[in-house]
Amino acid sequence: MTQVVNEAGFVPGAARAWRKPWRPGRGNGFLLIAPLTLLCALFVVPLALVVVRSFSGPQPGLAQYIEIVSNPSTAWVVLYTFWTALLVTAATLLLSYPVAFTISRAKGRLLTVCLAMVLIPFWTSTVIRTYGWIVILQRRGILNDILVGSGLIDQPLRLMNDGSGMQIAMIHIMLPFMILPLLSAMRGIDANLMRAASVLGANPLRQFVHVYLPMSLPGVSAGCVLVFISSLGFYITPALLGGQRTMIAVLIEQQASRLLNWPLASALATILLVLTSALFIIYERLMARLGGGKPVGEVQ
């Protein structure tokens, strides 16, 4: 048996293979016992306790939730968290798409260098990268020195206080989470499809709009879900760079370990959990409806 492989390394007939994700066989279910036990004991049960505590505080019932919604300062934190996650996701997508596109076309040493530039920050601790941004963005930091020194502005920017520094750092930290899914989708796009579109009469812009972009959408949505959900629960960067602007995770930490208001912290955690799960379920439904895309768990 010989297989014909053409220039693009495409094996005829293999096209249909990528549709079928691997599934564990029926007989192998026992392999899941150990991880499931661990998951139950250390994740599901504590989480259930958190949810239960959120309803059973000093006065059982919805008191904690009413408190969160009616107190402007906590309600505002929830909304601001969503706004930040949205902003970070949009900015990451805009920045990542051209980068991923370039890397997907790169070969040889350029490819290695580009991938290293994405992966090395990815492997570096978030704490370290956040401190790096503090050095750059603080009141007497590198950025302000340059801007004030060159006379572009008179007063140093207060990036550490108004949340924008935190958002910049989060965008930076989230970039690999967007680039990698995009890259995997883009590298899966057969170069012959673009050639076909071209021969069929599509100029480069239309090739992109009608073929490339739709085919990269599974990567776009996977990356967006990943970044959005990660941003919702982000802790370190908001804690260090957020200044007066607080995100949910920071608020939970304050309530739980400083103010010892566990019921309120539990309620906040429950809100975060429910919203995140809801988003994920909507995303999965949407992808299944569209049919063309792969759910986030199956990105190659």
Partner: protein, 376 residues
């Protein structure tokens, strides 16, 4: 093919009332750095001609087709389509149709959307598009498959969608790069006939790349044989088979015994007497000037076994291999010079007794069946 379909094809042909493009290759060449993918090549494809390009893998067939389609820029030369040089035109301005080896169907579009794509790019109205897509789906016998995704179709069906998509905008030139390469043998033969009928209905010129010599011989008006980025010979299938110019062409198309020639003993017009490397004296035919470094080419079906004394060339030999293939028997005969292994093929028949391995046999062939071909 059903009646309704034939009527559909006839109607299209009548309404098309056009003739395919004339394609001229003028010293077209392509190199990738130091690698020469295509040496300067000149040939012409006639209007409405079915022109096949065959050759081993890596011989430059796809490069040639890519240059015509426009996504491989040639390093030199011109390609004139109906007299206009298209080399500087972007692929999307050339208005050619192309079928790719892996079909290159858009997986995120339905079959109908795939076929409508080139019409959409040309700003054809919605109603007109729908009508033409419907007719095209009928022509390729996929009338009820418009709403499916390409992935839900079999290989042969995908192939037909690719064909429909390439032809729906009535291109004057259709390019196909091993369009049947991924199909199994029976389906391939069925599709060969369909593509031929399809082309006849469209009236388009076709340049068809394949590595299957049978497919090329069956489908093409003319065949070009490529080797190492060079066009060895372009001619009608029968001429290529019966009058190959080079040993490569002789052995690539069909089967041939090739005997390297040591010296030309005499030449009188087309008749030539040569001595092979192994010392055999052979009477042969030559179409051009006999040169040193040439070979004698003998087709297996022209070899006579047994009563060979009537032939101009007659030798004794020993059967070394007997192979029965459907309809014919293939022998390998070691000639008395002990170096030459001759292939003979005779039609199989219940009355014919098989010769046994090791049996002595008289073999021969006529002068006109031994062709002197030059080159390596």
């Amino acid at each position: 093919m059903n009646q309704h379909l034939m009527a559909d094809i006839k109607r299209t042909a009548a309404s098309a009332d056009k003739i395919g493009a004339i394609v001229e290759f003028d010293q077209v060449a392509k190199s990738y750095g130091a690698v020469c993918a295509l040496q300067p090549t000149t040939f012409q494809v006639g209007a409405g001609e079915f022109f096949a390009v065959i050759g081993p893998s890596g011989s430059g067939k796809s490069t040639l087709l890519g240059i015509v389609a426009g996504f491989v820029p040639p390093t030199a030369g011109a390609i004139r389509v109906n007299g206009t040089d298209v080399v500087s035109l972007a692929p999307y301005k050339r208005n050619f149709g192309m079928v790719f080896q892996n079909y290159a169907l858009f997986p995120h579009m339905t079959v109908a959307e795939n076929i409508a794509f080139p019409l959409r790019m040309r700003g054809v109205s919605k109603a007109d598009t729908a009508e033409r897509v419907r007719r095209m789906l009928g022509m390729v016998r996929l009338a009820n498959y418009g709403e499916r995704r390409p992935m839900e179709l079999s290989g042969g069906q995908q192939q037909r969608v690719a064909l429909a998509r390439a032809a729906v905008y009535d291109p004057l030139l259709l390019l196909m790069d091993e369009p049947l390469g991924a199909l199994d043998k029976n389906l391939r033969e069925e599709m060969q006939e369909e593509i031929k009928k399809f082309q006849a209905a469209l009236g388009a010129t076709v340049i068809y790349v394949t590595h299957d010599q049978h497919e090329a011989a069956f489908m093409a008006d003319r065949i070009a044989i490529m080797r190492n980025g060079r066009l060895e010979q372009a001619a009608a299938p029968r001429e290529l088979y019966e009058r190959p110019l080079t040993p490569f062409v002789a052995s690539f198309l069909g089967e041939a015994t090739l005997l390297p020639v040591k010296e030309i003993l005499s030449q009188k017009g087309e008749e030539v007497v040569v001595k092979t490397d192994s010392g055999l004296k052979i009477c042969a035919t030559v179409r051009s000037i006999a040169q040193a470094g040439s070979s004698i080419c003998i087709r297996p079906e022209n070899v006579v076994l047994g009563a060979a004394s009537k032939c101009a060339n007659s030798f004794s030999g020993v059967i070394e291999e007997v192979l029965y293939t459907t309809g014919s028997i293939r022998y390998r005969v070691r000639l008395a010079d002990t170096q030459t292994l001759l292939t003979a093929r005779i039609p199989s028949h219940p009355d014919i007794a098989l010769l046994a391995h090791g049996e002595r046999v008289e073999v021969g062939w006529r002068r006109q069946d031994a062709l002197l071909v030059s080159g390596d």
